[in-house]
Subunit: 357 residues, 2 copies
């Protein structure tokens, strides 16, 4: 590979390599369901800046909160309570829903939205349990539906995937990935620490899903076996097993991934893929900014991918798929693979056994 090849390579990348629609092909109008900080601080600004999306409806358990948020945003036509949403209020005002409630409440909103033919963008993990996630996939079978894996449209991750596909690091051999943060500052009463709302745990479902799913995406391979260790000692984590978790995953292609996740540690995230001929490191990886370094042989290059708003990319990608009438990469079936792996990871920790999928 000469200098010309390097230049060609660096110039070949369009950060919206996925975009099929023209910028003026239309807009998908969203009802945002669940008005926590992620929706208000991350999703709504992203949609405001997006090419293909608009927020026209907001939905909250609290009608008062929904109406207040609606009043704060000119483009929003209606602020609905959950009950009003389920009853079909303002159904003509939106084309799609973005579901960002506690995990165990995804299903009911997907069911209501899909029953009216609305497109569905649902946060990950899909639901609190595999069984409910399967019901969610069934409910959304006849509408455009995507699970909200924002790493799939992160340029650093897409570039890493291309490099692996092109054989730049040879055969992938092993992977290390972590996502950790601390949620104890939010006190003991939060849905992520409540198994009825979060599912079997907190760190693997909420954070471990990032290295798990991103490894699947980059390797284009799925898990076949998992094992894990978990520990909870802080009082806030008494109802969940995984204040910290370490889990190993064997992928179909033989690659072994070593992942950790913790809701009670220093903020950190990375994904490192070592192959027979080189390695890739995305660090930081999962906390809203991503940076890619590649080493082949003894040469290391920092690949400066565009620093995008990952939520803006994700929303526009989904809307582009809807407008273009094509299926997104992260269908509910794609999400179910993670749900199966996550359930097995908790089972494996409890049973002290490796579980095959």
């Amino acid at each position: 590979m000469g200098l010309d090849d390097v230049r060609d390579y660096l110039e070949s990348f369009t950060h919206r390599d996925w975009q099929a629609s023209a910028d003026d092909d239309g807009v998908v109008r969203f009802a945002l369901v669940g008005l926590g900080w992620w929706t208000k601080e991350r999703a709504m600004p992203a949609i405001e800046n997006s090419t293909f999306c608009e927020t026209t409806v907001v939905v909250s358990r609290s009608a008062e909160k929904a109406q207040r948020v609606a009043a704060e945003h000119d483009a929003v036509e209606a602020g609905l309570s959950s009950e009003e949403f389920h009853d079909g209020a303002a159904a003509d005002a939106y084309d799609a829903v973005y579901v960002c409630t506690p995990n165990a409440r995804h299903l009911e909103f997907v069911e209501s939205a899909a029953a009216r033919g609305k497109a569905v963008l649902c946060e990950k993990p899909m639901e609190a349990t595999l069984e409910r996630a399967e019901r969610l996939a069934d409910a959304a079978a006849d509408v455009p539906a995507m699970i909200a894996y924002r790493m799939h449209t992160e340029p650093a991750v897409r570039r890493a995937r291309e490099l692996v596909r092109e054989g730049a690091i040879g055969d992938p051999v092993h992977v290390h990935g972590n996502m950790s943060q601390s949620i104890t500052g939010w006190g003991p009463d939060q849905w992520r620490l409540d198994p009825d709302l979060a599912g079997p745990g907190t760190s693997v479902t909420d954070l471990g899903i990032y290295p798990l799913n991103t490894t699947r995406f980059v390797l284009e391979s799925d898990p076949v076996a998992v094992q894990s260790m978990m520990d909870s000692s802080h009082e806030y984590f008494e109802d969940v097993p995984d204040e910290v978790a370490a889990f190993n995953v064997t992928f179909e292609d033989g690659t072994l991934a070593s992942c950790t996740a913790s809701q009670h540690s220093q903020l950190d995230s990375f994904l490192k893929i070592v192959g027979s001929d080189g390695r890739l490191c995305i660090e930081p990886a999962f906390h809203s900014e991503s940076s890619l370094r590649a080493t082949v042989g003894e040469t290391t290059i920092d690949i400066e991918t565009p620093q995008v708003d990952q939520m803006e990319e994700e929303f526009d990608y989904f809307a582009d798929c809807v407008l273009d009438d094509r299926s997104p990469h992260a269908t509910p079936e794609h999400g179910l693979v993670d749900m199966q792996a996550i359930e097995a990871i908790y089972d494996a920790a409890e049973g002290n056994e490796t579980r095959t999928l």
Copy 2:
């Protein structure tokens, strides 16, 4: 912490913080047993540059090779065959042995050396099996003895240990570590791929021991449970299970470590420790050079520790302990903890179970 504290901190470190003897307190004369490339290319030059060590005898299975290597080095008084060594030839010419043979041949040389009261520096892993390692520890019970963990005198590792001990990153939560390289260029006929000589496998025994032991050293905590996954697909690895291995370790203090090792991948090594308040990353870590980065809160500092010859430090540390009549950190008992963990790691992979220690 103000700027003065930072300066005091940075100036406080002596890279030989372990040294007790004066530079002119004497010399320990070594018989080097096993004349592979590590001994010839790494150990002998290190000893030549050292303060407290001298090579006076070399020992090989081949008398001809031993004599040839002896002739190439002025200070070396004798080149012995293994049989001559066992029979006590030139026993007055050395004070200590450095055993760097294939794993399964450590025991016989340690037994012969210890029987004559010689000090013992034995490469890791201690032996091919836990049972033989226990016999080795028994044999060396009455002489100064150390297992050759060169990371214990690596300044970056010692500094990381200090930072953890001082609480700089809060409570350790999880660790990622890898050591990998490719040995396929050496062909199929090498002792590291022969279970009779190497032990139950190759990647964990030879490489995985680095992140395992260095985590023990930095955390000052020992393993209590292990689990692992292994895969061998390349033809050279048909007799060993671990062309690549991923293993998790729970430590006494609750920290979870995710480690990988491979004898058939791109050269790579790192050790990353994430705590409640910060993180440390040693990268590269285990391939003869080490570099330390520390992040506390949102501030990251690169700590430029002296770039030492790790083998020179290791030999001088051991000799300093011998001259000073004190016990080294890595006694045979210390090494046995790794041997127990490694045996459990192989058992865990075979049984698909978590093993407690």
